[in-house]
C-alpha cells in the first residue's frame, strides 16, 4: 500500500507542515479549501449546515452540543475512529463524551488520503500519519471560531476566554459549544490558527474509551447486516481454478429452489439471486456449470515453487547494489546460504466479503466498508457508464479487512454491481461464503528468497546477496506507474531494499513471476516476508560470529537510532540474557514498516516431540507521538496475533490448479489457546505520529523462529513452522 513515490513527495509536504508545529504554540496553515462550503472573505456566508456549525470538512458542532468528527478512513478494527477523534478533541478542548465519529462520504476532493495524492482510501497504516496535522488544524479552527463567537456575545477580548472539556468560559460567563454553534457559524474562517503546545495536550498521549461503539451488544451495523426493503441476496459460483471461465451452465435445479428469483452470469461466474441467503446458497449449490479451463491455472504449489527456485538461479533485476557483492562472497572464507519459502495467504477477515448495491436511473448506491473509496467509485462508474459523482457510497464498519477490501480490481464490489444492474431499483446484497472467501484469491503472494551472506574476519557482515521471486501486487493496476520502478515493485522489496544493517557489499535482486493467481496486499505487505528473511539472516550471522543477537544488531544499527531504541527497550523489558527454565528460549527481531519501528522478544517452549508453544511476547514500538496508547497496545497485540497465524498454521496451497483449503478447518488461524501473553512498551517520542495497524505483524514470525533456533538449533525457513522432532 505504501507508494514510494507518492509517499516521498507528500511526506516532504508533511514534514514542512510539521516543521512549523515543532516549536510549541505556533500557527498551523489553515486551508480554506477544506471548509464545508465556500465562505466569502468577509465571512458573510453562514457556515451552518443541517443545523450544525460546519467550519470545515471535518468538524460539525451541533446545537445539541455534539462534536461530530467526519472520519475519512475505514474503521476496520484498527481504532481510527478513536485516534482521529482524539486529535480533534485535543485542539478543540472538547469533552470526550461529546465527540462522535461519523463516516465521511466518498469525496476525494475533501477527504483524500494526503499520502496517496488525489485518492480517498485507507491502507499502508497512513490514517493517523496523514490526518494528524489536518485534523489538528480543523479542530483548532473550530475552537477559534467558537471563542470568537463567545467574545462577540460577551463583549470581551478572545484572549480573556478559556476552553476546557467542551466549555467556553470567562470568569462567571460560560457557554457550551452547542450554545455557541449558531453564532460561531457566522464568524469568519481564520486563515491561520494557533495549534496547541504539545506540553498542553490533555487527550493525546492519554487513553480514552474507543469510539467505535455498538460492538458489544450487537447493534453495530456491518455490510452483512444491511437489510433494505425489497432487497435480494446473491451468492455466486466462481471458477474452481483461477483463470477459468463459464463454458455453459444448467440452472433448472437452481431456479427450482424455493426463494430463488433469478440466475445471472457475471464476469467471474454465475450468480443466484434469492429472497434470502440460504435460498441463494442452496440455489448456487444446485447449479450445474461446465467450466472452460483452457486459460486456467494448472499445477501445484510444489511446481510453482520449483519454478521460483529455477528463476532464482538466473540474473534478476537489481533493486539495490552496494559495493561488489560477488567479489566479496568469492573471497569470503565462509558463506552462509539460506533459502526461504512463503506460501500464499488469504486475509480471512471474520466478515466474509460482501457488498450491497442498488442501481437505478439516478445512478448507483453502495453500502460497504470501503478501504478504497475512490478506486471503487471509479470502477463502478466505468462499469455502469455513469459519472463518478453518481456513485454514492454509504460507509459501514468492516469486520476486518487486512487489505482485502482495498482491491484496485474492485472485484467483489463490481460483482455486486453486475448483479444489481440486472434488477434496476432492487438492492442486492452479494454474500461470499467462507469457502468463496478462502478460495477467492487476492492472496498475499507466494515468495521464494535466496540469501548468500558472509562475515569478515571480525565477524561483521561483509556481503549479503538476496534474490526475491514472487508476483508483483501492483503490476497491471492503476498503481503500477507509481509503484513499479524499473521493473521492481516497491511492495515486494520494502523491508529488504531498506534493510538497516551496515553491510558494505549488498545486492538485492527481484524476479517477477507471472501466474493467474490474483494477489494483493496483506497486513504489512512486503514486510510479511522481507522482515522474516532479514531478521532470520542477521540472527544466523550473529550466531556465526559468536555474538549475542541483540548486541550484534545494536552494533550494526549505529545509523538507525529508532531501531536501536525499540530493540533496547524490548530487550530490557524482556529480561534478555536472564536465565529461563529448561526447554524455554528467547528470540528477537526488529523491523521498521510504514515509518513505525517495532522490536519483539518472543519466548517459546519446545517439547521433546517437536511441539512448541509461544508463551510470551514483549513488544516495543516507536510510532512517533503516541496519540492513544491503548489503541497502540491493542494494535501491537492484534498484529502479533495476526502474524502468528502464518507462523504457526496458515497457508493457501494448490493442487491440480485448485486451492486446497476452503474454511477454518484447513485454513487454520490462531485461536485463544495459541495466543501468548503480550506486553507492549511505547517509546516516548515527539516525532510526527505514524501508523500502528500493520507494523506489529511482520516482527513476530522471525522473533519466534529465532527463539526456536535458540531452543533447538533448527533454522526454520518456511512457514508455517514445523520442527523436526
Amino acid at each position: 500500500m505504501n507508494d514510494f513515490t507518492i509517499r516521498k513527495v507528500s511526506r516532504r509536504r508533511f514534514l514542512v507542515s510539521m516543521g512549523s508545529a515543532g516549536a510549541g504554540l505556533t500557527l498551523g496553515v489553515y486551508l480554506p479549501g477544506a471548509a464545508a462550503q465556500d465562505q466569502s472573505a468577509d465571512g458573510a456566508t453562514s457556515l451552518l449546515e443541517d443545523g450544525a456549525f460546519a467550519p470545515n470538512a471535518f468538524v460539525r458542532v451541533g446545537v445539541d452540543n455534539t462534536v461530530k468528527v467526519m472520519i475519512k478512513h475505514l474503521e476496520m478494527g484498527q481504532g481510527t475512529y478513536t485516534g482521529l477523534c482524539t486529535v480533534v478533541a485535543e485542539e478543540m478542548d472538547a469533552s470526550w463524551e461529546q465527540v462522535v465519529p461519523a463516516p465521511a462520504p466518498a469525496d476525494a476532493s475533501r477527504y483524500n488520503n494526503l499520502l496517496w495524492g488525489p485518492s480517498q482510501g485507507t491502507g499502508g497504516s497512513t490514517a493517523m500519519a496523514n490526518s494528524f496535522e489536518q485534523l489538528r488544524n480543523a479542530g483548532a479552527a473550530a475552537r477559534h471560531m467558537l471563542v470568537a463567537a463567545a467574545a462577540e456575545r460577551w463583549g470581551i477580548a478572545p484572549d480573556k476566554i478559556t476552553v476546557s472539556a467542551g466549555k467556553v468560559s470567562a470568569g462567571a460567563l460560560s457557554a457550551t459549544f452547542g450554545e455557541l454553534a449558531e453564532a460561531a457559524a457566522e464568524q469568519p474562517v481564520p486563515e491561520e490558527v494557533a495549534l496547541k503546545d504539545p506540553a498542553d495536550f490533555v487527550f493525546i498521549g492519554q487513553s480514552f474509551p474507543r469510539k467505535d461503539s455498538g460492538k458489544t451488544d450487537g447493534t453495530a451495523i456491518f455490510t452483512q447486516d444491511i437489510n433494505l426493503p425489497g432487497m435480494l441476496t446473491a451468492v455466486v459460483a466462481h471458477p474452481p481454478r483461477f483463470g477459468g471461465r463459464v463454458a455453459s451452465f444448467d440452472d433448472v435445479a437452481a431456479r427450482a429452489v424455493n426463494g430463488v428469483e433469478d440466475v445471472v452470469q457475471v464476469a467471474n461466474g454465475v450468480a443466484v439471486v434469492a429472497r434470502d441467503f440460504w435460498s441463494a446458497k442452496t440455489g448456487r449449490d444446485a447449479l450445474e456449470i461446465t467450466w472452460d479451463d483452457s486459460a486456467a491455472l494448472s499445477g501445484s504449489t510444489e511446481s510453482m515453487m520449483a519454478e521460483y527456485r529455477e528463476m532464482a538461479e538466473t540474473d534478476g533485476i537489481d533493486a539495490r547494489n552496494d559495493g561488489d557483492v560477488d567479489a566479496a562472497l568469492s573471497s569470503a572464507d565462509t558463506v552462509l546460504e539460506l533459502d526461504f519459502e512463503f506460501p500464499f495467504l488469504a486475509h480471512a477477515a471474520m466478515e466474509p466479503l460482501n457488498c450491497v448495491v442498488r442501481v437505478d436511473a439516478d445512478g448507483c448506491e453502495v453500502w460497504n466498508g470501503e478501504q478504497m473509496h475512490t478506486g471503487d467509485q471509479m470502477a463502478l462508474a466505468a462499469l455502469l457508464g455513469i459519472d463518478v459523482p453518481r456513485v454514492k457510497i454509504n460507509m459501514l464498519y468492516a469486520g476486518g479487512s487486512f487489505g482485502r477490501r482495498a482491491n484496485p480490481a474492485a472485484d467483489y464490489v463490481l460483482e455486486a454491481a453486475m448483479i444489481a444492474k440486472t434488477r434496476p431499483g432492487t438492492p442486492v446484497k452479494l454474500v461470499w461464503t467462507r469457502e468463496d472467501d478462502t478460495r477467492g484469491g487476492y492472496y498475499r503472494p507466494m515468495h521464494f528468497h535466496r540469501v548468500r551472506a558472509a562475515l569478515d574476519a571480525d565477524g561483521q557482515p561483509l556481503a549479503w546477496q538476496q534474490s526475491i521471486v514472487g508476483q508483483s501486487i501492483v503490476a497491471g493496476t492503476p498503481f503500477e506507474p507509481f509503484m513499479v520502478k524499473d521493473g521492481v515493485d516497491v511492495t515486494m522489496v520494502e523491508g529488504a531494499v531498506n534493510q538497516p544493517y551496515a553491510v558494505p557489499n549488498f545486492n538485492l535482486q527481484v524476479h517477477n513471476a507471472r501466474s493467474p493467481v490474483p494477489v494483493l496486499w496483506w497486513r504489512s505487505v512486503g514486510s510479511t516476508h522481507t522482515a522474516f528473511v532479514c531478521e532470520s539472516v542477521i540472527d544466523e550471522l550473529a550466531l556465526a560470529a559468536g555474538a549475542d543477537p541483540v548486541e550484534y544488531r545494536m552494533g550494526l544499527l549505529a545509523d538507525h537510532p529508532r531501531h536501536q531504541g525499540v530493540l533496547a527497550l524490548a530487550a530490557e523489558k524482556a529480561g534478555w540474557g536472564t536465565p529461563l527454565p529448561e526447554g524455554r528460549a528467547r528470540g528477537v527481531a526488529v523491523h521498521e514498516s510504514f515509518n513505525s519501528y517495532v522490536a519483539q522478544v518472543a519466548e517459546v517452549t519446545v517439547g521433546a516431540d517437536g511441539s512448541f508453544s509461544v508463551d510470551r511476547v514483549v513488544c516495543a514500538v516507536d510510532c512517533g507521538i503516541a496519540v492513544n496508547p491503548d489503541v497502540i497496545r491493542a494494535q501491537m497485540e492484534g498484529g502479533i496475533g495476526f502474524g502468528l497465524s502464518p507462523a504457526l498454521l496458515s497457508e493457501i496451497t494448490f493442487a491440480d490448479g485448485q486451492v486446497v483449503q476452503s474454511n477454518f478447518h484447513d485454513y487454520q488461524v490462531i485461536r485463544i489457546e495459541h495466543m501468548p501473553e503480550v506486553e507492549v512498551h511505547i517509546v516516548p517520542s515527539a516525532e510526527p505520529p505514524t501508523g500502528v495497524g500493520e507494523p506489529g505483524t511482520p516482527v513476530i514470525a522471525p522473533a519466534v523462529a529465532n527463539a526456536l533456533r535458540a531452543a533447538t538449533g533448527q533454522r526454520l525457513t518456511r512457514m508455517p513452522f514445523r520442527l523436526a522432532s
Partner: protein
Amino acid sequence: MAVTLTINGNEHTLDVADDMPLLWAIRDHAGLTGTKFGCGLALCGACTVHLDGNPIRSCSTPVSAVAGGNITTIEGLNSKAAAAVQAAWQKLDVVQCGYCQSGQIMSATALLAGNSDPDDADIDAAMNGNICRCSTYVRIRAAIKEAARSLA
C-alpha cells in the same frame, strides 16, 4: 413451511425451510443481525447463540432442531453474567473490528454462568471455538477474569 421459534422470549413464526440453519432464520427472517455469519460450519463461533442457556453454533443447527427451545441472541442477553461480561469488554476495550464479538460474548457469558472463577485452561476450553482475526484474545482472557471478579 412454517417454523415457530422462541427468540429472546418472543415467538416468531417464520416461513422457512426445515433445513435452514437457525442463523439465517434469526438474521434474514427474524431480522436480528447481531448474530454473525463467519464460516457456516461451526468452526469460528461468530454465530454463537444460547439454546436454553447453552452455547450453540446457529450456523450449523437447522431450525427444525430448535423449535420449542428458548433461543437467546446477543440482543436478548439480560443476565447478571452477561452484563458483567459486556461491562468488562467495554472497560478493557476488548473489541477491534467487532464482527466476532457477539459470539465471543455469548460464549463468555455461558462460561461464567457455569463457572464463576475460570482459570486459563477453562477459558481456553470455552473460548477456543471462537476465532478473532483481530486477535483480541489477550483482552478476552483478561475481560473474562475481570467479569468473574465483578460477579464474585
